[in-house]
Point group: C2
DNA sequence: TTTAGCACTTAAAAGTATCGAGTGCTAAAT
DNA sequence: ATTTAGCACTCGATACTTTTAAGTGCTAAA
C-alpha cells in the first residue's frame, strides 16, 4: 500500500489527466505534460507495476492506462489536493440561492445550482430523522382545512383536507389537540404508522373529518422526499456517454428510485461520503461515483446532498462545492425558524 | 385535397403501419398486410402520386414511404378512427389517480399516469388565467407567517414568510386587509406587477414585514407552473432514438423551458390541439408532435395537459387517453372547493 | 537503476464487396 | 383508361479487408 514518490506522482497524473481528457493516458503524455524527469520507458515500468498492484487498468494492450476503482480511491484518500472554488463559481452560487421558500425550496435551489456548477446530476434527500413538533389546523373555508406540520428542525409542511360536511370551529380545535397530543415527537418517517393508531382511537368521535385530515397528511408525507435535480442534459455531453446503450442505462438508472435509494443508503454513517465505481453495492452504479454530504445547520441535520457522476468526475471540485454549500447554510442562510421562536406555539395561538 | 378511396386507404395504412413498425412501408407490405385488392404495381403508382402531392416521403430511393407532416395531418383530420381505451388502461388510470392533495398534486398524478399509459413524456401546465379570490395570513410562530392564496377556480397555494421582527396580531390583520383589497381579482399571471405597487403604496406603514410577505408570495408564484413529468426513459426505447445525437437533442429540447413554452403557446386557442412535426414553430420540435388538451371542470379551465412524442405517435390512443382524463375530472374527481363554499370567506373568517 | 530502441499488438478508421428491399418504367392485359 | 407483370436500377446496410497509429513490453546498453 505504500507507493514511492514517483509512483504517487504517476498515479495522480494519470487520474488527473484522465479526468480531464477521458482518454487512456500513455507514458509519453505523462513525461511531456507533467514534469516527470524520467524517460517514458521508466514511466512504463512503473505503470506496469501500478497495474499489477491494481491501481491502473489497461483497456487493451496497445492503449494507455486508466485508473481503477482502487486507483481513484488511493487518489482521493492520499493524493488529491484541495481545490478552492473560483470567484466566478462562488458568485454564481451566491446569486442563485436566494433563500426564499421553505427548507425544501432552498434544498431544491441548491441542488439546481450544484448540478449546474458541476455539470452533473444532483440528488437531494431531505431530513428523515426529523420529528413533528407542532401541528396547526386552519379553516380556510367551510369545507377546506389547511393543516400545517412543523418539525423540530424547522421544516414546515402543509396540506389541504377537503371535507364532505361543514365542521364547527370547536370540533376543529378538539381535533387539533388530539393530533398534537398524539403526534408531537413522532419521527416523520413513522408518521403514517402513528396516524393509523390515531384513526383507530379517535375516529368514532369525529367520523369522516379526522379521516380526511389523516389521509391528507399521509399523502403529503408520502410525496417523495428525494428529488432528482436534472443536469442530465449536461452529463450526456461527457465522452463516456457516446453510445446509446450507456445513455439508456444511465437514464434508466437515474429514474429508478430503488437504485438512487441504495446509492444514498450506503453513505449513511459519514458526513462526507464518497463511493467510487464498484464500491457501490448496486451493479448498475458500478461505473459511477456518488458523493454525498450531510448538510447541517447549528448541529442539526437538514438532509443530504448527493452528486452522481461518472467515476471520472472532478473529485476535488465536487467536494469543495459541497463543502461550500454546507458553509453557506451555516453562515448566510436564515431558515424558517430561529431557535428563539421555540415554545411559542402553546402560549400565543391565535386560532 | 380530395383523395380517392384507394389513396385514402393507402395513406391511412402507411401511417398506421409506420406508427406500429417505425420502418418505411413498401408496396408489397401494404398489399399483404392490409387488404388492398390491387397489385403492388398499382399501389406503387398511387404512392408515387401521394408523394408528389406531399403526403408521403421517401427516405431514399430504394426504401418504402413514410408519412410527411401533411400526411399525418390528413390522417388525423380525415382518416383516423376513434380508439376506445381498454379496460386495463382504464383500470390503471383509475387506480392510480387517488384525488388527494391540491389541484397541482392531482395534475401531477395525472401527468404521471398519462406518461406511463402512453410511454411518452408528458407536460402539464396549470391554469394561468385564474385570479386571486382571497388571501389569508396565519401566524405560525412569532416570526413565521403562513400566507394562503386562494384562487377563483379553487386552487390553493401557500407560502411562508420569515420575519425579522415580532409582529403584533392586529398588524397582521391590517396587512391581510391591505393584501385582500389590492389583490382580489388579480390574475395570477399579473400578481408580481400588482405586488410591486402594493409595496410602493404601503411599504412605509409596515416596513420590512410587508416586504417579506410580498417576496414570499412572489417567489411562490415564480415557481414554474410547468412541470415535466418524466417518461423519458420510456421514449428512449422507441426506435427513432437509436442514435446518440437524436437522444441528446431530445433530452436538451425537453429540458429547455423556452422550447416547452413555445410548444404549449401554439395550442392556446383550442381545447384539443395537435401540432405535428414542422407545424411547430420551434425548429427543435420539428420531428415531434405535441398534443394538448384543456382540462376543465364545470366549465372552469383548470390547466393544460400536453404530451410530447415523436411524430410517429399513436394519435388515436393519445387523444382518447386525454379525453378520458378530462371526463374523469368532470365526473369522479372532487376538487378542493365546491361552488357552494363560495363567498364564505368574508362572513366567517376566524382569524 | 535508467534508458534507447524495436518488434509486437490492437482498436479505430478507411476502403471494398455483396446483398436485398423497394422502386420506376415499359409493355402487355383487362 | 386502368391495372399488372416483369425487369433493370438504386442505394442503404452489412460484412469483410486493409491501413494506420498509439502505446506497450522486452532486451541490451548506459
Amino acid at each position: 500500500m505504500n507507493l514511492d514518490e514517483r509512483k504517487k506522482k504517476i498515479l495522480s497524473s494519470v487520474v488527473e489527466d484522465y479526468i480531464e481528457s477521458a482518454e487512456p493516458v500513455g507514458s509519453k503524455t505523462l513525461v511531456e505534460k507533467y514534469h516527470l524527469d524520467y524517460s517514458s520507458a521508466t514511466i512504463r515500468n512503473d505503470m506496469k507495476i501500478l497495474e499489477e498492484e491494481g491501481y491502473l487498468e489497461q483497456p487493451h494492450v496497445s492503449a494507455g492506462r486508466i485508473p481503477s476503482t482502487k486507483g481513484y480511491r488511493y487518489y482521493v484518500d492520499n493524493l488529491m489536493k484541495e481545490r478552492k472554488l473560483s470567484m466566478v463559481e462562488i458568485d454564481y452560487i451566491n446569486s442563485t440561492i436566494n433563500g426564499f421558500g421553505d427548507v425544501d425550496d432552498i434544498f431544491e435551489q441548491v441542488a439546481d445550482v450544484v448540478s449546474k456548477v458541476l455539470s452533473t446530476p444532483t440528488v437531494i434527500t431531505r431530513n428523515n430523522t426529523d420529528t413533528i413538533e407542532h401541528i396547526k389546523v386552519v379553516k380556510i373555508s367551510d369545507k377546506l382545512l389547511l393543516i400545517v406540520l412543523m418539525s423540530k428542525n424547522g421544516t414546515v409542511k402543509d396540506c389541504i383536507a377537503k371535507l364532505t360536511d361543514v365542521v364547527e370551529d370547536n370540533v376543529i380545535d378538539q381535533m387539533t389537540n388530539i393530533l398534537n397530543q398524539n403526534l408531537t415527537g413522532t419521527p416523520l418517517k413513522e408518521l403514517h404508522l402513528v396516524l393509523n393508531n390515531v384513526i383507530k382511537k379517535d375516529l368514532k368521535a369525529f367520523s369522516g373529518v379526522m379521516e380526511e385530515i389523516v389521509n391528507s397528511i399521509k399523502y403529503e408525507m408520502s410525496k417523495d422526499l428525494k428529488k432528482l435535480n436534472s443536469g442530465v442534459e449536461q452529463i450526456l455531453e461527457k465522452p463516456e456517454f457516446s453510445d446509446v446503450q450507456t445513455i439508456k442505462n444511465f437514464v434508466n438508472m437515474i429514474s429508478t428510485k430503488e437504485i438512487i435509494d441504495s446509492a444514498l443508503e450506503k453513505s449513511n454513517n459519514n458526513k462526507l461520503s464518497i463511493v467510487i465505481g464498484s464500491e457501490n453495492k448496486e451493479v448498475l452504479l458500478n461505473d459511477y461515483t456518488v458523493i454525498s454530504l450531510d448538510i447541517e445547520k447549528d448541529n442539526k441535520y437538514l438532509g443530504k446532498l448527493s452528486v452522481i457522476g461518472p467515476k471520472r468526475m472532478n473529485y476535488a471540485k465536487t467536494i469543495s462545492t459541497l463543502k461550500y454549500i454546507n458553509e453557506k447554510f451555516n453562515n448566510t442562510l436564515k431558515l424558517n425558524k430561529d431557535s428563539k421562536a421555540k415554545g411559542d406555539y402553546s402560549e400565543k395561538r391565535r386560532d
